[in-house]
Subunit: 573 residues, 2 copies
């Protein structure tokens, strides 16, 4: 592994030479504006153009590539691009899923043969990838914990092509895994064995945008951030925003019912997705690409596809309702002495900020320390160390009104003693810094040790209880027990950092965390989904009857089980 | 039929004597504050206490009942209570559904026998209704166009009771129809033949309310308006509001995925319903009463129950996310010279009113005339007659800010000439008058002749086109062709008034209206559902494949087809 570029000053674009055939992996470690600092720590595609995004995941066919930074005039960029001398290095890093889970047996699917590849090539000329280097990234998940052994990656551009492929696969009993931006956290978008990978990366066209209603119709492979930029030009915003926005595909967002920061304000994709087009296992097209706000004609079947993680059909296009773009955004970081004070602050924020409240996120003291130690952040509140910090955001249509509401809110919560310290972001870089303080926790944690991640939901009052329980339980064993997340949605990200990847250590956490959550009526997967890694945890949030119905639904949509096998439905099925 | 009370001055409550055994039907024709006037025309339960609501739908067991008006200090009330000397009169009015639709054959279900009734009586002592007078109202739909011949009405109070009943019915092959407030417009909540009616009217308890998150958990039979009053006390509001709020049950709202006026602001019940508990055909309880905002564990099966019209299960309890109660509401009635000007006004309202816009409703000139002629309304805009009127509402948290936004919006739309006349409601009675002008159209139309109702949705731009088309097509045949509805949601209520109920006249409208709508990608049922009356129209909005999947889903949930037969799924099934 070679670092080929570091601490480069980027002006619009910058070229690097790399050895031909190398596997490229690139991270922007931080972005600094001259004189003031903010941080980002995300895979490159987040801030670069889409064209590069696809290169960053495979072998570059050229020995020169270009970084293009959009909408940024001049930034001193700490950038590290690792050029792996061969993909072997990468192969060595992530053990095969089939080795990690020997109890899971490959389904009775056919194996891809040269005739199959020839057929795919006839449907998708030049868009069938069989080289092992190119496949490597698509076989490995974002967290680098799951790795499949697919021999074929298909890149259709149109729904008809997906239909032709699936009809063929169904007839020939070939299993497939649909893949969007491959940013999921539960191993849902990579093969477990040798499933054919069907990528939506070339299905990236906006089909229609209605600037009166704000209804966007687009192909499944559009990158969320590109859509955000597109609809912003029309005076709208996407109803969801996530840390992975620079890579994730809208089809994947819908397929996993993604949550994120704006959920509190705009609600779930079950509410905001107006239409879904999908190809079913037999190749038939589920033509539900309605752009109507209301349609009460029969069962709302598209809702089954939303959150089905590619196990019921491959989503090829979606209609999303976009709210008007806020013209005024305010952001504050506040410190509280107790969790009760956090709750009081939240209650007050709903009352005082009302319709403009757009995010209420919690960072606990331990997460703040992680950001200071591993994320390179400086806590913007430099007074005493406090047990809880909250990020409060407003989005509205009138700057004066919104600022007045925010200042009146802050005055009251500080006057009442709920908040003991606080700061408001006033410059653009401060906004980014404050958001990155919250959004960057996950990435910083990965530098602190081996992270055991849990994405749970509870009532808001019970949001933090488990963090204290686990801290007590793992005293002396865990390096860090962090609790942060979307407090306004009751969605806790519990992250436990251990010294190594160890079954013994894991047994201290699981199934206890799931049982504890289940006993309190919580969800064992609030927004990350079930995918591969949590399919045996689903029983803690769903009854046997419900799981049975899910299995029957699966058999309606995909009788042979070729769509994303070993995922979502428990292994008992 | 006897009018037993008219033009009564009501102070809090008033008692009337009625003949024992009479069937009561009551309408408040109007409410007047001294000196100023506003109108309502709705079935009584809308403004009276729940206790009376149940009386109003059956024979009163007493000969005295009491009207209680909530939250009203002193109103001169024009009230007419009709006491029907016997239910025979009513029977004569509505032809039996089975006679109206001779092609529909009764399914191979058992007939209720005395042993069945004895069993039901053992489960629901004193809550099994078999007297024909009591059954009459429950057999007849709100529009008085469908009438079944059920011999048994069951009134469970608890989920377990519903479970015991359904298990028995499934084993004994007895068909059932679930009934909430019986306010549906597509004949979905009344029997077609002799299905057993299972009413949720006694399942009317609030189970829990979380005043931090605004999450309400309640039984299915709670009346929407009662819930609104309940959550308002806690500083919240229900995310939906409909004309039928005084009678409709929340379980029925969820089962039909009801829309209404607040849809524009708070979105659909697919987004706002967090949890559903239902009893399936075999008596098993679908335990999905989650009060979590986020839960991504497997397929979101509750979404199938939302809008399934009682054909997949009987909803017994729900969790609803309630937004904070607005502290400031503004309402304006505006007049426009063209539909384009209406669209321009809408676009501007989104821009200027942003997050506080809560309704944008259209009333066309013909609907306004109906309200003047049959509804007793005076057009608040007394200048020239205009082709279009819109009702624009804002709901926000700050009176000063909201008024400023509204006045700035009005200044601009009038300055630009989009709006040529307008008035703002400033007093409480003006608010009610303005809303009743919009909400009362349906009731006023029923006095103008025989109403052929269509509930369609289109893109906003194409909202009004069909009204012009039908007006031209039915020139000389129709008495009135009215277009009004939820413009912001693209949801048109097309109401055609004919001189009589005539198949010939109907053939001028159908299937043309459905075909025209389908050709433009519209929905043939935007918010009213499919129920009984529209099940053969579903094909105009859903593909054969989708209908096929619906049939398979139905067979998973209800293999014997005992739940609300002849509804939702097309008759070909």
């Amino acid at each position: 592994m070679t670092a080929i570029a570091r601490n480069v000053l980027l002006r619009y674009q910058q070229s690097f030479s790399v050895q031909s055939g190398c596997f490229l992996q690139a991270h922007v470690l931080s972005l600094c504006t001259p004189g003031s600092l903010y941080w980002r720590h995300r895979p490159l595609p987040i801030i670069i153009c889409q064209k590069f995004a696809s290169l960053s995941y495979g072998t570059s066919p050229l020995n020169v590539f270009t970084l293009t930074i959009k909408r940024v005039k001049s930034y001193r960029t700490h950038i590290m691009i690792r050029s792996l001398s061969s993909s072997r290095a990468l192969q060595g890093e992530v053990p095969l899923t089939s080795d990690q889970y020997p109890s899971i047996k490959r389904g009775r699917f056919s194996q891809v043969c040269p005739d199959d590849v020839a057929f795919f090539e006839s449907v998708l000329p030049g868009r069938v990838v069989t080289g092992s280097d190119d496949l490597e990234a698509a076989n490995t998940d974002w967290l680098r914990m799951c790795r499949g052994q697919s021999k074929v990656l298909l890149r259709p551009q149109a729904t008809d092509e997906v239909s032709t492929i699936l009809k063929y696969c169904n007839e020939h009993n070939l299993a497939v895994v649909p893949q969007g931006g491959n940013t999921g956290l539960v191993g849902g978008s990579v093969p477990v064995f040798d499933e054919i990978i069907i990528s939506t990366s070339l299905m990236n066209q906006v089909i229609e945008f209605n600037s009166l209603s704000g209804i966007l119709t687009c192909q499944a492979g559009c990158i969320l951030e590109n859509l955000e930029l597109f609809v912003q030009e029309e005076g709208f915003t996407m109803p969801l925003d996530l840390g992975a926005k620079g890579s994730c595909h809208i089809g994947g967002n819908v397929a996993t019912s993604a949550g994120g920061i704006r959920f509190l304000r705009y609600g779930s994709l079950h509410g905001n997705t107006l239409g879904v087009e999908a190809v079913l296992a037999d190749g038939e097209i589920f033509d539900g690409l309605s752009s109507l706000r209301k349609d009460n004609t029969g069962y709302d079947l598209k809702q089954l596809l939303i959150g089905s993680e590619g196990t019921l059909g491959i989503i090829t296009a979606v209609c999303i309702l976009c709210p008007p773009k806020p013209r005024s955004v305010n952001l504050a970081l506040l410190g509280c002495r107790s969790f009760q004070a956090v709750l009081d602050t939240y209650k007050f924020s709903k009352e005082k900020l009302g319709e403009i409240l757009s995010a209420f996120e919690l960072i606990d003291c331990e997460s703040m320390k992680i950001q200071e130690t591993y994320g390179g952040h400086v806590n913007p509140l430099q007074g005493e160390t406090l047990p809880f910090y909250v990020v409060v955001e407003t989005s509205g249509s009138n700057k004066d009104h919104d600022e007045l509401k925010m200042s009146s809110f802050l005055e009251e919560v500080m006057g009442k003693g709920y908040v003991v310290d606080g700061t408001i972001a006033s410059e653009s870089f401060q906004f980014k810094n404050m958001w990155s303080l919250r959004e960057g926790i996950a990435a910083s944690l990965m530098k602190a040790g081996v992270v055991y991640k849990y994405d749970l939901s509870f009532s808001i009052e019970g949001f933090y209880e488990l963090v204290d329980v686990m801290r007590e339980k793992l005293k002396g064993d865990a390096l860090h027990v962090c609790g942060y997340g979307h407090l306004g949605d009751g969605n806790l990200h519990l992250n436990i950092v251990g010294p190594t990847l160890s079954k013994e250590f894991l047994s201290l956490i699981e199934p206890f965390v799931f049982e504890w959550t289940s006993d309190r009526g919580g969800s064992v997967s609030a927004e990350h989904g079930i995918g591969f890694k949590k399919r045996d945890a689903i029983q803690f949030s769903k009854t046997e009857k419900q799981i049975g119905i899910m299995q029957q639904v699966k058999s309606i949509f995909d009788p042979k089980g070729i769509l994303n096998p070993y995922k979502t439905i428990p292994s008992g099925s």
